[in-house]
Structure formats: structure tokens, C-alpha cells
């Protein structure tokens, strides 16, 4: 509509080189800006200018900009459902033939990372950056003070809850206002109880997929944990963007936390000597007794993704593709990601990982990512925006105990396949 054109001339129309938007927040922001700066220095004729945004704000901003035809040349994202809406609207370049011609670029990356970049058999994004599985973190110091062991099963988790509460320590930290933080719990419980096919059925648009008994069981279990005061008091007003949830873990106010692998770098830079003194423990989400899921399964972001706006000029597209070939995951960027505790999606980095000061965590992440039977994409990223928003809203209500597991399933069944 005409309204969309009301803004000032946006980055999409600027002629002075390519533009690139991505997330801010250290330490990741520094690695991203470093890669752009090196590319600009090495290619004086090809300039990329970047703009950074906060996570939650970015998700809205980028959608609006693309809809208004003001997208940056290079669109940073999570692939999956959002990328599908861009692709369906013809807003991002089909990179399939480019990858065929530049098979070297494709072959150096883990093949599993291309799943969330592929829509109906065509590749619309270049996987980049790191594997980000969700990890169960725990504070070793708090565990030894209370005299308990890390949980090996869901039963252990429920047994630990009253023990920590009795000492005035929250069993789990949670940034519940951000919503996707709560979602990680359901992702694991669904998988551990019913296997990866439970959510796959939702993704494939099967009717009443949320009413699967395993789904109802998982929803009930998470409410049991809320009722047992498993999460920190006030979790519904804590945001993940402020990193307060992570601060609760490293200050010892909470014993455990389910969070993305990127949180390791944040705890390392914000938590004083918490990480360097070896107080941070981590493990894959434990199995649920009697569950069908493979305990090696994980969820999270299989990679991050760079798409090229179809509205960009040919010059801008060429710069973007050159950046994909020469800039993305160059040796220095790989080194820096490893330095932040991230495992790049590049093949054959084991030796580099093993030499780093965070070798334990890096090898752990690498093993999870490379050995997982299923590396499922985060639900809110896998689904298209409309059902994803309904999902996040209902998850919050589920954690507030204001709807029952059955109501949750009914509300979600109503938007399946949208």
C-alpha cells in the first residue's frame, strides 16, 4: 500500500554498497561486526554497512522492513517458518543454483544446517555462525552446597525441586516474559516423552496433532513443575534480553537453567569468574522415565541464516554473494566464535575446539550437534509467524496455570496448518 512508502528512503534503496542487519549483544555482536570490517578492508570496492538490533525488536523490525520493500541486502535470520513466508512472497533470492555453482561453499558446512534454509526443495539462505542447541546448565557450587547430584531423569528433577526450595534457592531460572524461554521446556518434554515425531506431526499440519497423549503428558508435566515451584519466583516478568535469567544462575539464586548454548559466552563475559573457576555445569536434557524419545535428540538453532533480499540491486547482490564466499566463517571468524564458546557449523573443527580454553564445553556442544539423532529447530522459528504467535501466547498462559493442558491443545489445534 501507499502507506508503506511513507518512510524515508530506506536501506533497500541506498546505492552505496550492501546493507546487513543483525542482532546486537556481546560477545556475538563483536564477531559479526569483525567479519564485516575484515571483508570491507579486504575488498575496498565492496562496502557492507551494518545495523544492529536487539533480539525481540529485530524479529518485528525485519518483517516490517521486508514487507515495506525496505529490506537490507543481507537478511540475518533463523530460517524455518519465517524464511518460508519471505520465500513465498518472493522477497528473498533463491540460492539453489548459486550453491550448485559454488559447491565449495556448501560442502564446508554441516549438511544438517541446510534443513531450515530449504523451502520446498530450494535453498533460500546461507547457513552461518554456530550450532545453538539448548543445554541444561547448572551451578556446581550450589549443587555441592545443598549436597545433591545433577538430575539424570525427569524424576530426579522433580525430586530436586523441594530440596533447593528448602534452602531458599530457586530450582530453575527462567526469563518467562520472553516466552520462547518457556517454550524450550515443552520442546524437550515433547521429544523425550513422545519422540521427535510428535512435533513433526504439528509441523506437517496433521489434524489435532497437539492432542497426542504424549503432548498432553508433557504439558501436564510442565504445569506440575510450575505448581511445585520449580521456577524462580517472578519468572513471568523476567526477560531474556536483559540476561537477568542468566544472572540468577551465576549469582547462585537459581540452581539450574535451560538455555541456548550462546548463554555460555554471556555467562563467561558477565559472570566474573563463574565460568573460569569451573562452577558452571552443563548437560543435555535428561530422559523422562518411560519416554520414547531418543536421549541424544536436541532442539535449538541448527545454525543462523543469511538470505539476500530480492529487492536489492545486482551490485548489492554480488557484494552479498562475495561476502558469503569470502567473508562468512573465515578463519578469524571461526576462531572468534570458538573464543565465545560457540561451535561453528564448519566441518572439521574438532582440533581447534580441543585446543581452546573452553575445550570441554565446545566438545560437548559439538558432540550434541553432530551426534543428535534429531536436531529439531525451535518451534517458534520452525512454524510460520501466525501459529508461532498463538503458540507463544498459549505457552505463557500454560505457565501461568491459567489454561489446562487440554485447553492448550485445543487452542493450538485450531491454528494447525496456518
Amino acid at each position: 500500500m501507499a502507506l508503506a512508502a511513507c518512510g524515508s528512503s530506506g536501506p533497500g534503496s541506498s546505492s552505496g554498497g550492501a546493507t546487513y542487519w543483525f542482532l546486537n549483544g556481546q560477545p556475538q555482536e563483536g564477531v559479526r561486526t569483525g567479519a564485516v570490517d575484515r571483508f570491507n578492508k579486504a575488498n575496498p570496492n565492496e562496502k557492507i554497512t551494518f545495523t544492529t538490533f536487539q533480539n525481540d525488536a529485530y524479529k518485528t523490525k525485519i518483517k516490517t522492513a521486508i514487507g515495506a520493500g525496505q529490506a537490507p541486502t543481507i537478511i540475518w535470520g533463523w530460517g524455518g517458518g519465517t524464511l518460508r513466508t519471505y520465500a513465498k512472497a518472493g522477497q528473498v533470492e533463491d540460492l539453489t543454483s548459486w550453491f550448485d555453482q559454488n559447491s565449495k561453499v556448501k560442502d564446508k558446512l554441516f549438511p544438517s544446517t541446510f534443513g531450515a534454509a530449504t523451502i520446498d526443495g530450494k535453498i533460500y539462505a546461507m547457513p552461518c555462525e554456530t550450532f545453538q542447541p539448548i543445554v541444561l546448565y547448572y551451578n556446581k557450587k550450589v549443587f555441592s552446597d545443598v549436597g545433591v547430584q545433577p538430575p539424570q531423569s525427569w524424576g530426579d528433577i522433580m525430586d530436586l525441586v523441594p530440596k533447593f526450595n528448602a534452602k531458599g534457592i530457586a530450582p530453575f531460572s527462567l526469563g518467562g516474559q520472553s516466552r520462547w524461554t518457556n517454550m524450550m521446556w515443552l520442546e524437550f518434554l515433547f521429544d523425550r516423552i513422545g519422540g521427535s515425531e510428535v512435533f513433526q506431526a504439528v509441523f506437517d499440519g496433521e489434524k489435532d496433532a497437539w492432542s497426542n497423549p504424549a503432548a498432553i503428558d508433557a504439558l501436564t508435566k510442565v504445569q506440575d513443575l510450575v505448581k511445585a515451584k520449580g521456577f524462580i519466583e517472578g519468572f513471568s516478568s523476567i526477560t531474556a534480553d536483559s540476561n537477568a535469567d542468566q544472572a540468577l544462575l551465576y549469582t547462585g539464586k537459581a540452581a539450574m537453567m535451560l538455555h541456548g548454548s550462546w548463554s555460555y559466552g554471556i555467562q563467561q563475559s558477565d559472570g566474573g569468574d563463574f565460568v573460569s573457576s569451573g562452577s558452571l555445569g552443563y548437560m543435555n536434557f535428561p530422559p523422562v522415565d518411560g519416554g520414547k524419545g531418543d536421549p541424544s535428540d536436541t532442539v535449538g538453532n541448527p545454525a543462523q541464516y543469511l538470505s539476500i533480499s530480492s529487492k536489492a540491486s545486482d551490485d548489492q547482490k554480488k557484494i552479498a554473494k562475495d561476502f558469503f564466499t569470502k567473508g562468512v566463517l573465515d578463519d578469524e571468524e571461526v576462531k572468534q566464535w570458538i573464543g565465545t564458546g560457540g561451535v561453528p557449523i564448519l566441518k572439521g573443527t574438532q582440533d581447534l575446539l580441543a585446543k581452546d580454553k573452553n575445550a570441554d564445553f565446545l566438545t560437548f556442544t559439538y558432540d550434541i550437534a553432530s551426534k543428535a539423532k534429531t536436531f529439531a529447530q525451535s518451534w517458534d522459528q520452525a512454524l510460520t509467524p501466525t501459529p508461532a504467535e498463538t503458540l507463544l501466547d498459549n505457552i505463557v498462559k500454560l505457565f501461568q496455570l491459567s489454561i489446562s493442558p487440554q485447553q492448550f491443545a485445543d487452542n493450538m489445534n485450531a491454528v494447525i496448518g496456518q
Partner: protein, 300 residues
Amino acid sequence: MSTSTTHQRGRGQRGFLPWLAAPALVFFVGFAVIPVVGVLALSFTTWDGIGAIQPSGLTSWRAMLSDPGLLHAIWITFLVMIASWAVQTPLSILLGTFLAGHQRYRGVLAVVYFIPLLLSSAAIAITYKALLDPNFGLGAGLGIDFLSQDWLGRPTLAFSLVVFVVSWQFIPFHSLIYQGAVRQIPQSMYEAAQLDGAGRARQFFSITLPQLKYTIITSSTLMIVGSLTFFDLIFVLTEGGPGDATRVLALDMYKRGFQASLMGPASVIAVILVLVGLALALLLRRLGGRDASQSQIEGA
């Protein structure tokens, strides 16, 4: 002779004066009328904000009018409107009356009271959010148990807090309006009342308050119509949470439009907001009588 010159001048004014309204009219058409028409058109379409706009008749209207979420958002908006009006009006009148005095210490206090007026809603929301954080906020820092409650995590507390912060932010503005109005009341009325033996309280209720009638209507209109557009503060403070305890219409519109990519239903909410706003403004003008701008001094 004199009548003819007035006549001539009047004609000249009529030729020139309408042009003075042109800039305002251009802005009004550009930033109010055209967007409203656009939104009305969008409400009869299906659009995800990215792809093509598909006309879809009444689909969005039907979906929204049968959505319990909309009723809830209307209810919350109404509650915020009433609660913030009920908190702000008496406090603003009292503060405004107090500040209308010409004592020097009142001038100093006035400056202090007006500080919230200078702050942006987002800054206010971020500050309150940080201060009231149950784990790292003021309460936890100073060891005051009362303050370390889960302010933004419980539906009633979060709602009350939104009303409190809104009032904190806007009371200075309305006090300013009342201060001006109270200073307009002729001193002679108070002198007469004093001669008749009326005390401070009696003077306030029998002179100040009735004389403020039209100011109350103006300030209430601003409060009530303004409360329909509360967005930034609530968005930063609670994002409409916990659950949907503070999800007012404006926020619901944003979430549906920009987060759930449902521009059609979001436009329906926008149209509803425009209609409700206009209806309320009209209603309040009616309450004030036909001509709110007439002088009320004689009538006192």
C-alpha cells in the same frame, strides 16, 4: 463609514484566513485521514505484511468479533481507562490547586512535580522495571520485603502497577492544566466567600471545584481518549503480560499485526479504536453542555 471598513476588512480576512489552516489540514489529511482510510481498507483484506494483499471481505471482522481475546482486550482497556482516570483526576485537581498558590516554595515544588513530564514513556518503563525487579531490584538491594514482590508477574499487581505508572507520568501534565485554571478564578469570589465565613474546604468545594467544571471535562477527555493509545509504556513494562493481564487494545493490535503477521485483524482493532475514541470524545463534549467554551464566571 465605520461599518463599511469593518465589512471590507472582514472580506479580506475571509480570503486569506482559510489558507492559514492549510498546513494543519495537509498534516491532518496526510497523517490522520489517509491512514484511517487505509486501515479501513486493510480490515477487509488478508495480508501477512510481507506478501500480496488479498481482499477477503468480512473474514477479518468475523474472526475478530468472535475472538474472546478482543473482548478481553476491550475490557482491560476500559479498566485502565477508568482506573487511571479515577486516580489521576482527584490528585491532579488537588495538586493543581495547591500549586496555584503564589508562595515561593510551591514554585520550587512545582518544578519537582513536573519532572516526570520530561521523561519518555520508554525510559519510565525501563526504570520502573529495573527498580521493581524481584531479584535484582530496589527491594532485593535494600532488603525491603514489601518492595521485592513479583510486581510484574501477577495479574492484579501488574495491572495496578500499570495504572500507577501511567498516573505518575501524567498527573504532572493535568496538574499543570488545573493550576492554570485555578489561577483564572477571580480572587474576588474567594474574598466574598471569606466575608461570608466560608472555610478553606468550603471554598474549595463551593468555588474552586464548580469553576473547574470545564477544565475537568477537558482534562478528562485528554485522559480517557489518551488512555486508548497507551502502548509504549505497557509494551516495555509488561508486554501485555503476565498472560494477557495488561494487554490493552493498542497492544493487541500491534501483536496481531506485527508479531502474528495478521494485518487484517489488526486493522479491525485499529478501526474499533478510532470509533471508540471518537465516540468517547463526542460523549464527553455532550456532558459539558452545548458550548464548552462559554464563560462560566457569571453562572457561579
